[in-house]
Every structure is written in C-alpha cells, then in structure tokens.
C-alpha cells in the first residue's frame, strides 16, 4: 500500500493545490447548479467537468512523472507496474472523490429532483467514473509524447465517451443505446439525470452496469501493459 500512501502524502503535502482542487469545482459548478439553465444542459456541464477533472488530473502528472524519471525511480525499487497502476488509480480516484465531495453536496442540495435515494447512487456513479477516468488518464499518458498531447488526447477521448454515454444527446436508436449501456460514464449520466429529475434517469439495465465494470477492468488490465512505455528510455 506504499503507492497509495505516497499518493495521499503527496496530495496532502501540496496543501495549496489541494485547496484549489476543492475550490475550483465548487466555484465553477455552483453557479451552473443554481442557474436557470435547462436540466439536460446542467447534466452535460457537470459530466464534462467531472470527467475532465479526473482524466486530466491523471494524465498530466503521469506524463510529467514519466518524463522527469520519477516513474523510473519507482519501478527500479521493484514495484510491479500493474501494482503501481492499481494503487495509483485507486488512490487518485479516492483523492478526486474527496476533493469533489463539497461540490457534490452542493449539486445534491441545489438539484431540482434530488431525493434522498438519488444521492448514494450519485456517489457510487461518481466513484466508478473517477476510477475509470484515472485509468484512462494513465493509458493516454502512456501513448503520447508531451503534456500538450496528453491534454488533447484526454479532451478528445473523454468527449467521445461522454457523447456515447448520452450526455450531449439522449441515446435513441438501438445501437446508440447499446453503446451507451457499455460506456463507463453512463452510470454518471443516469445518476445526474436522476438527480435533476430527468426522464432519462430511470436507470441502466443490470447487464449494462456489469458490462461497464467489465470494460473498466479490461481497461485497467490493458493499462498495465501500456505502462511499459513509461520505462527508460522513452520508446514513444
């Protein structure tokens, strides 16, 4: 659990950054949550922000750590890359969850259709989303050559997945519904829609949740292989 400990120690050692990571989501999303904007628009903004927050937050530090040689230093201690990946993503997702907790509370308080039952669902969906976004961020970091590329790739892939999840346009046809059911960000859309009292917030079929978790697990396993690219010298 040393990687987990190190991630938390690092997060707490950078107090200023930690405060910013709590304050910025609250400052950006609270006005949206309290605005007269249409509920589907609010759901889209919340979804984009949360996914970007976690994906960028995983990808950019991973690129930096790989380029500076920190990951090389860590791997040389004998830590296995899959173990590093699992512990890092779990820790970073947990840190993200803590940092987003205040704004999540605000969203729940200000949402139109919030009910006591919708809050635990939102938290669970948020956890799944943050976990997948952190894995995705590391995978993207392993495939690019610079911070700029990491940012672009994070934005592009995240937006695509958010689109497939139905954040920007409700999935209506058969194949878009199937794609949405497999998308790891669909639980977040459903949870946010439910929070806002939208009709699309009825829920996902049980198999879709299993499929999303399976895809997330597959992504994590694949990421273990991708992280070989963090080794010295850079083969990217």
């Amino acid at each position: 659990m040393t990687v987990w400990w190190l991630a938390w120690r690092s997060a707490l050692a950078r107090r200023r950054l930690f405060v910013w990571n709590v304050a910025v989501p609250a400052l950006l999303l609270t006005p949206v949550a309290s605005s007269d904007a249409a509920a589907p628009h609010r759901v889209a903004v919340f979804g984009v922000f949360i996914v970007f927050f976690a994906t960028f937050g995983a990808a950019l530090p991973a690129v930096r750590d790989a380029r500076e040689g920190w990951l090389d230093t860590v791997f040389r201690t004998g830590v296995r890359r899959p173990a590093w990946l699992v512990q890092t993503t779990l820790a970073e997702a947990a840190i993200d969850l803590v940092q987003l907790a205040p704004v999540t509370a605000v969203l729940a308080l200000l949402a139109d259709g919030a009910s006591p039952a919708s809050v635990p669902i939102l938290i669970a969906a948020l956890a799944v989303t943050l976990l997948f976004a952190n894995v995705l961020g590391v995978v993207l970091a392993a495939t690019v050559r610079s911070l700029a590329e990491a940012a672009l790739a994070s934005a592009a892939v995240s937006l695509l997945l958010l689109h497939f999840a139905g954040f920007f346009r409700p999935p209506v046809s058969g194949w878009t519904r199937a794609l949405a059911a497999l998308d790891p960000y669909s639980p977040l859309r459903v949870a946010l829609a439910r929070l806002e009292g939208l009709p699309g917030g009825g829920g996902l079929p049980p198999w879709a949740v299993v499929a999303a978790l399976g895809l997330g697990g597959l992504a994590a396993l694949t990421a273990g292989r991708w992280t070989r690219r963090f080794e010295w010298p850079a083969t990217r």
Partner: protein, 321 residues
C-alpha cells in the same frame, strides 16, 4: 541462519551486451564484465561513452538489445540499487519522506523505513535538512540523498552513476566511508566517474569505456603498468629560456634514459623509463645549454594517462566518446 555470501562470488555478469536508443544511436556494443561481491568497480569514459547505459542495464532498469545479463547474486530488482546521475524525488516532500517512501517501496515496514532513512540521511550529513522539501535542495544535496537511499537499500549490488559530480569534499569522504563499509559487507559496487584519481584509490578494478565498448578492465595498477610505466618529468623554465626551447629539446632528446621530449606550457616534458637514472644527466644538459630551471616535478604514470593511452581518446572536438 543463511550463510553470508563469500566475497568474490559473482553478483552480475554481462556477456556480449549491446544497446541502441530508439533513434538508432548505439550506446553499447559487445560489453562483457563481471561484478563480484566485496569489490568496487569503477567505470571511466567520456560523456556519451555508455557508462550510464551500462549501469542501467546492470540495474535492470532497461533491457539489453543484444547479449545477456546474469544476476546470480542479485536476481530481484530490489537486489540492485541504482543512484542515477540525475536523481528524481518528489520535490514537495521532505528529504526524509522521500527516502522513507523509496525504502517502503522496497518492502520495508513504515517504521523501519523511516528509521533507516533517518540513519542514512545523518550519515550523508543531511540530518539538518531532512525536514526540508527536496525542491529546495541543491544538486549536491540531491546527490547525497540519492546515495543515502542507495546505501540504505542494503542491496547486494549498488550502482552509482557519477556520484562525485556534485559532491563537496565532505560528501566525497562520506561516500568513501560508505563504499568501504559496503565492500566489507560483501556488496558489489559499480560506479562511474570522471575522476581517475578517485577510481585509482577507491576501486578494486576499473573499466575504460570508449564509444560504447569496454576497451580495458583490470586493477588500476595493472592498467597503469600496461601503458609502459614511463615517468614524466615536467621542467618549468624561466621566461627567458622559452626562445631557446627548440635547442633544449634537441639537447635532451639524446640524453640517456630519455624516451621523449616535448614543449609543455612554459617548460618541457620528458618521458623517461627511470627518473633516478635519467634525471641527473638531463638536468646537466639543460644547465650546460644555458637553461634557467624554475622547478622540476616528477609525475609517475597514473590512471588518467592509462585511460588516454588505452582508449586512444583524444581531446580534439568531434573525437568519438
């Protein structure tokens, strides 16, 4: 109780090692060497000659493209500690936290890692700054922290990439003590350096790298003996004698025991087989030729000369590393 490994047992063994960077640059070719327990091996070579790459391959931090590395005495990654020439730490954590984290990653318990980190930070004179963030450390402090972590790891094999590069005299002395102790405990240490004098006095064996090839590997004494063992005599002349330098060179060239003469700065340099027999007649010829000698200095052959002689390295720009 596990028997303590004997000094001299092989730790790392490289055969036909080759490595090329992704852009095709060949960093190492056909390198063979063996590192044993209880010895310090030095690597000398110009910038870009392959020292760092070889250390990384030995540490298992990169994969060789050719050849093989056997690690009979250090099979697990944690059995090899590498202190790179550009140590990387979490700059927002303290030196103690960084060292503790790296020891914990090697499997130490939290309490043991912190205790050992504190001891080794003290040994490398970092105790006063142990609570400071490493982002505020100087290059020398970072090097000492990297060395502290490498020695604290207690790995059978310790690989140090240019540890002297940023060390002050105190740091060198602490490194010397740590090296002697690690050698005494039966660890095998490989270090790269640009300081032949350090290598000659602290290393049991020294290897010369040139353009990715290990061109020589032996004890410092044997390497020096291999270049012929000629002593150099540096004769510093008064300013007025410079004009007659050519005549003096001619006069000394035929002096008994003198193997070579050339101008050097404000004087002359003689190469002789034995200084005791060659120096008196040479000085006599100089005085007779009217030279005014300011000083005479004997320089027995050293490892630096052996390096230049055996690698064929030149100081001209563009010469291969």
């Amino acid at each position: 109780m596990t028997p303590r490994p004997a000094s001299g047992d092989p730790l790392l063994r490289a055969r036909g090692l080759g490595f090329a960077y992704p852009d095709g640059t060949i960093a190492l070719r056909d390198v063979a060497l063996e590192i044993r327990r209880g010895e310090v091996v030095g690597l000398l070579g110009a910038n870009g000659s392959g020292k760092s790459t070889l250390l990384r391959l030995l540490a298992g931090a990169a994969r060789a493209h050719e050849g093989s590395i056997g690690r009979p005495g250090a099979p697990r990654p944690a059995d090899r500690a590498l202190a790179g020439d550009r140590p990387v730490f979490r700059e927002w954590l303290t030196g103690l936290d960084n060292a503790t984290a790296l020891l914990r990653l090697r499997g130490r318990s939290a309490a043991l890692a912190r205790a050992e980190a504190a001891v080794w930070l003290e040994r490398f004179d970092l105790a006063p700054v142990a609570g400071r963030r490493t982002g505020t450390y100087s290059r020398g402090m970072e090097t000492r922290l990297a060395l502290a972590v490498a020695f604290a790891a207690r790995s059978p094999a310790i690989l140090l990439d240019e540890p002297l590069a940023a060390l002050d005299p105190g740091g060198r002395e602490r490194l010397t003590v740590a090296l002697a102790e690690a050698r005494g405990e039966g660890r095998g240490i490989v270090l790269s350096t640009h300081d032949p004098a350090f290598a000659a006095t602290r290393c049991d064996r020294v290897g010369f790298l040139r353009a990715g090839r290990l061109v020589a590997m032996d004890t410092p004494a044997v390497l020096i003996a291999r270049i012929g063992g000629r002593t150099r005599i540096e004769v510093e002349l008064e300013d007025g004698a410079e004009a007659a330098r050519g005549a003096l060179v001619a006069a000394l060239a035929s002096s008994p025991g003198v193997r070579g003469v050339r101008s050097l700065g404000v004087g002359l340099m003689l190469e002789v087989d034995e200084a005791e027999t060659a120096l008196p007649p040479a000085l006599e010829r100089l005085f007779r030729a009217g030279a005014r000698v300011r000083s005479v200095r004997l320089r027995p052959p050293d490892l630096g000369e052996a390096y230049f002689a055996l690698t064929g390295a030149r100081l001209e720009p563009g010469a291969p590393a």
